[in-house]
């Protein structure tokens, strides 16, 4: 249909290794980019700030986590702590007078250093043990942030983010904040896409699949696992800085607890491990499915005049939300991105049944 092509007709390595070899895909990507660029002009402020912004920022964070989990095959249950380190480090840097551009990178660097220091100790173990070790990191960081007044501002304090500018644009203005979040997301997305087609990404995939075979071709498994922790934590830290400056504008420890880490892992897994599209789908589902289901249950109850109790009214959306996630994973264990890919491949060769590649 839209995609159809017959055979593979690349005449150069460059055309074969393009990010989107099909014209339809390129058009689709361009359309999405244009939509996101003009969104602030056509979408109401409520939707821009309440829905689009969090989706973009959580997608960025989920991309960072997916780099580690899907790319290098290392589980991380403390990614919320990584984001917290980035948010707090950049906020403190900005309060000390450092411009936002550098403070955000500083936040990423702080996350990367602390994250890979934990990673180095955690990487002595594998699988479930690594999950436990990263969970411990989450607790340690939570505890330190809450109990060190110098970091959190004391007890249950909320730390206000100082006014900041990015390339001259005031981040307290929603429009500027939106475009900053969008550009960071675009850079991270391009990075992850390019890793997938370069030697760095292949080495990570080798470590993920069989670390002893990776060693035999000259890849140092420990070094690459650590690099994956470093890069992933850096992305998480920058996402934390963007979160603090463009979205929350005031941060407190309870915004970065374990439930955030679990949500991020859910985004990655529901979206599709190792896929670049996955985190976007996953973040959308995890963020919006509860809201939509809540409204749907309310609307249905009203439409049919059902006198459901307040308890049921409150919990039914959550039950449906859980069922939805299970349903998607039962249908396609590789996540929403794989479901999209299946549909795409179907149209790629329609009316025939088998897809090339």
């Amino acid at each position: 249909m839209f995609y159809r092509r017959a055979g593979i007709r690349h005449t150069s390595y460059r055309s074969e290794r393009r990010l989107w070899p099909l014209p339809f895909d390129r058009g689709l990507v361009a359309a999405v980019v244009v939509l996101l660029l003009v969104a602030p002009l056509v979408v109401e402020r409520l939707y821009l700030i309440g829905y689009l912004m969090p989706w973009i920022i959580w997608s960025t964070a989920a991309l960072g986590l997916n780099f580690l989990m899907g790319g290098a095959g290392q589980i991380h249950l403390g990614y919320g702590a990584i984001i917290a380190i980035g948010a707090y480090a950049s906020t403190h840097l900005a309060r000390a007078g450092v411009p936002f551009e550098i403070a955000a990178l500083g936040g990423g660097l702080a996350s990367a250093v602390i994250g890979s220091a934990f990673g180095a100790t955690a990487l002595r173990v594998k699988g479930l043990y690594l999950a436990m070790a990263t969970l411990a990191m989450q607790s340690v960081v939570d505890f330190l942030i809450t109990h060190v007044p110098w970091i959190s501002g004391g007890g249950q304090a909320t730390l206000t983010v100082p006014p900041a500018r990015f390339l001259g644009a005031d981040l307290r203005v929603d429009l500027a904040a939106y475009y900053v979040a969008l550009s960071v997301c675009a850079v991270v997305t391009l990075f992850v896409l390019n890793v997938g087609r370069s030697s760095f990404g292949r080495a990570l995939a080798a470590v993920r699949e069989k670390d002893y075979a990776a060693a035999v071709i000259g890849v140092d498994p420990f070094r690459y696992k650590l690099l994956a922790f470093w890069v992933s934590s850096f992305i998480g830290g920058v996402a934390g800085a963007v979160l603090a400056f463009c979205y929350y504008r005031a941060i407190s420890p309870d915004q970065f607890h374990l439930d955030l880490s679990i949500q991020l892992v859910a985004m990655v897994i529901v979206g599709g491990l190792g896929s670049v599209l996955g985190p976007f789908f996953g973040a959308a589902l995890i963020l919006f499915a509860p809201i939509l289901l809540n409204q749907a249950v309310g609307a249905l109850a009203a439409a049919f005049g059902l006198g459901i109790s307040a308890d049921l009214r409150a919990h039914l959306p959550l039950v449906l939300y859980g069922a939805l996630i299970m349903g998607f994973l039962l249908a396609e264990p590789l996540g929403l991105a794989k479901i999209y890919d299946n549909v795409r491949k179907y149209f790629l060769v329609w009316p025939f049944r088998h897809a090339p590649r």
Binding site: S199, F200, A206, Y212, V216
Partner: protein, 282 residues
């Protein structure tokens, strides 16, 4: 052959099958708990030869390879590669010195295409990095394509053209073994270790692999260390062999002569068969 490997080789390179020693193991001992898998093994592989290591199941062949490639550092003894002591060196560092190997039970990277698997063989010659990936168009692309050209040559050499884009787990095992050999050759090794490259293959596939091994030695200046159970192949392509039994060397030398050694027959077929064999041939 580039980089480290080239520097390791003296410029006055000996002719294939010459007397220069490529890899020397001396007094290798390795135990696992109470099991003594290797009990003082000495071996010398000369540059340019195809050296076979044979022996009954459990005789310590794969352990020997794991000692040579750094996975099991020996409890005692030393390993020297082109004169350099590599005892106790980590596997990835040994790979950088020009040693490549294949595994008895395939160790390809699932989820990647045949092409990407072979490209991974080029890892030791590439300079991967996160920043290079971020600025792919200016940093990484040219390097990618330069190595792609070399990989395509190997794909032609191993006759894998029509499956290069397939996910590696979807192709038949005989071809997977060939892909693994291609990945090893992509590193342009000076020393190639093949752990049962023909296990589970039919006669035609065996002949293919035997031909690839001979070509790799002749055209690519590779010294080959071969573990194999198919005795027809071993006697046909190996210059010298060594026979292991219970972690000890029981025979060494020209393949047919070594295989006819009474101790070898006893190790494979038992004491009675060996004495009957000895009786039949005065």
């Amino acid at each position: 052959m580039t980089g480290e490997a080239a520097r390791l080789l003296p410029s006055s390179a000996a002719s294939p099958g010459g007397t220069e020693v490529a890899l020397a193991c001396a007094g290798i001992e390795r135990s696992f708990g109470g099991l003594r898998a290797l009990k003082g093994v000495d071996l010398e592989v000369r540059r340019g030869e195809i050296f076979g290591l044979v022996g009954p199941n459990g005789s310590g062949k794969t352990t020997m390879v794991n000692v040579m490639t750094g996975f099991y550092p020996p409890n005692r003894g030393s390993v020297r590669l082109f004169g350099r002591d590599i005892t106790g060196t980590a596997p990835h560092a040994i790979a950088r010195l020009g040693v490549a190997r294949t595994f008895q039970n395939l160790a390809l990277f699932k989820g990647l295409s045949v092409l990407d698997n072979i490209l991974l063989g080029r890892h030791v010659h590439m300079r991967p990095g996160a920043l290079a990936s971020l600025f792919y168009w200016t940093w990484a692309e040219r390097e990618e394509f330069a190595h792609r050209r070399i990989v395509e040559e190997i794909i032609d050499f191993m006759q894998l053209q029509d499956i290069r884009d397939e996910p590696v787990e979807t192709i038949p095992m005989g071809l997977q073994k060939r892909v693994e050999l291609a990945r090893a050759l992509a590193a342009e090794p000076s020393f190639l270790i093949l752990d049962e490259p023909m296990a589970g293959m039919n006669q035609e596939e065996k002949e293919y692999i035997a031909r690839f091994i001979l070509d790799a030695r002749d055209e690519r200046d590779v010294t080959v260390f071969l573990i194999e159970h198919h005795m027809d192949v071993v006697t046909a392509i190996c210059d010298r062999i060594m026979v292991l039994s219970y972690g000890e060397v029981i025979a060494e030398g020209e393949p047919r002569a070594a295989m006819a050694d009474p101790k070898v027959i006893e190790a494979y077929l038992g004491h009675r068969a060996a004495s009957r064999h000895a009786g039949a041939r005065p």
